[in-house]
Amino acid sequence: MADVSLAVQQIDPYRWRVPRTGGMRTDGLIFADAELMHDLEGDQCIQQVANVAHLPGIVGPSIAMPDIHWGYGFPIGGVAAFDEHEGVVSPGGVGYDINCGVRLLRTPLTVEEVRPRLRALADTLYRLIPSGVGASRSDVRLSPKDLDQVLERGAEWAVRQGYGTERDLACIEAGGRLPGEPDCVSRRAKQRGQDQLGTVGSGNHFVEAGYVSEVYDAAVAARLGLELGTVTVFIHSGSRGLGYQVCDDYLDRMLRAAAKYGIPLPDKQLCCAPLGSPEARDYLGAMNAAANYAFANRQLMAHYVRRAVAEVFGVEAAEASDLVYDVAHNIAKFETHEAEGRPRRLCVHRKGATRAFPPGHPELGERFRDIGQPVLIPGDMGRYSFVLVGTAGAFRETFGSTCHGAGRRMSRHQAKKVARPRNIPRELEDRGILVRAASRATVDEEIPEAYKDVARVVDVVHAAGIGKKVAKLTPLAVVKG
């Protein structure tokens, strides 16, 4: 690991500079308030911001969002953009769970209508959407040819199979489809993805019914169908075992590539290849294929959410349950940004960071063109989550990116220790939140106090101008792995 002197300098109440030193090619820039910065003491994530700044072809600073925490290679909450000719792509800048992301549906139901039948809704969601490590489903059988179609066409494949509507596709980042190359995905990765489509997985992934408990921007909230009291369903999941395997496969290849192209690495997990090299092309093809798997995965889960709503509240309620948005927070994409006074095509890595394009951006569909891209920020299962929209400030300063969640503040080991003598599901139920989980261990590791207060994280991005608050959602029922 690089050993840099981390004399972090405060720029203003929400920005901190990690000055360029040693082999760093640029500064680091961290968005946080003083208290969030204090939380980072003793953590290696600031070092990781500096490590990313060592990579060739980086444009602008190595950026970290206020939910930054210690990852592997890149910090979680990291954003870095690389010149398309001189830069690199790094699987460590995307992470194992390629296109881990969040999807939000809004139902036509109000919290008053749902509360009396909340137990039935929680049980039905838990029954219809398999959760937990290695969860699979027997009702969605993919032939090898089907799987290649998923890897190539993403959410569009799912909609063509009857899992959703055309309207859904218009409410997904990149239309739910990136230029995936199934041939770049290994046999083992495909084997792991064969029966996991439509499953939520484990760890911090979840399906959560909640309701709009506070509105900050009534006009935008109304456009998104998020009036006060509206019941919503959040889905947080990614590319499951297939994506993890793609990352693992290409880390080996990128280690060899970094040696081949003479790229010095401050951390092996930052291994990378020049954009335009065969190694980079193959990785991007495989990463996009895994991203498509994740888009299709969330599309199928949304279908089963609608089926749960239909079982408990009727078909009409299910048919009127619209997708608000679906956004990735672990991805690398080519985008055009203004840098050094001119538009440049850059490969923007977001690892634990959300795209937050402003009103007027040409990549946004008609529906969002005048309000900006919806940004979905889940919190912990006991407090709240937020909906924001992208801003011109984010586009100018962070390559159109903002935070992705609360960020952990307690280790998993510590969280289990704290939770062991307690009954967490009972505690949450006493607060009106039902939990259904495949394992007690997951619930214990995910206790609310293991996370930072997502409201503080969101307040920082709002105050710094890299996201605009629209609404707060409060959980009612949570399905965990």
Binding site: G71, Y72, V133, G134, M410
Partner: protein, 141 residues
């Protein structure tokens, strides 16, 4: 037990101390057993061959951890122990061969654990000292 968990906010960071390299590998299997099936007993009912080569010993150690985890990720096989048949240490090109012993995950007897996505090379350490071997691994959860 010669492994312990180090502080880490999001993932699992484990330190190992063992008198021999072979004992280090057995500890890796213990961690993966604990992180995939909980504290209950796992029986050595079936074996799976493992044969690895690597450019250096740290990579061999990392590769072994990845193989042991893959047994669970791909085939739901919970490893309970490792029988080392052959080990080549530097200056010879590092390699190992042996058998992972364990059994298929049984939800009736094994406790579902949060998913480990991968073994990472971040902070990977392996060193031999006067008292034996020390190593560190970070698992992405």
């Amino acid at each position: 037990m010669t492994y312990y968990y180090l502080p880490h906010t999001a993932d699992l960071r484990v330190a190992f101390e063992a008198p021999t390299f072979a004992a280090l590998l057995e500890d890796v299997v213990r961690v993966i057993r604990e992180q995939t099936a909980g504290d209950g007993p796992v029986e050595a009912r079936a074996g799976r061959g493992v044969a690895l080569e690597a450019p250096d010993l740290a990579e061999l150690f990392f590769g072994f951890a990845r193989e042991a985890l893959a047994a669970f990720q791909v085939d739901r096989f919970v490893p309970a122990g490792f029988e080392l048949d052959a080990l080549a240490l530097p200056p010879a090109p590092p390699s190992l061969a042996g058998r992972l012993w364990g059994e298929p995950f049984d939800p009736a007897r094994h406790e579902v654990q949060p998913e480990i996505k991968a073994v990472t090379r971040h902070g990977l350490r392996l060193e031999e000292g006067p008292g034996g071997w020390r190593a560190e691994l970070l698992f992405d959860v």
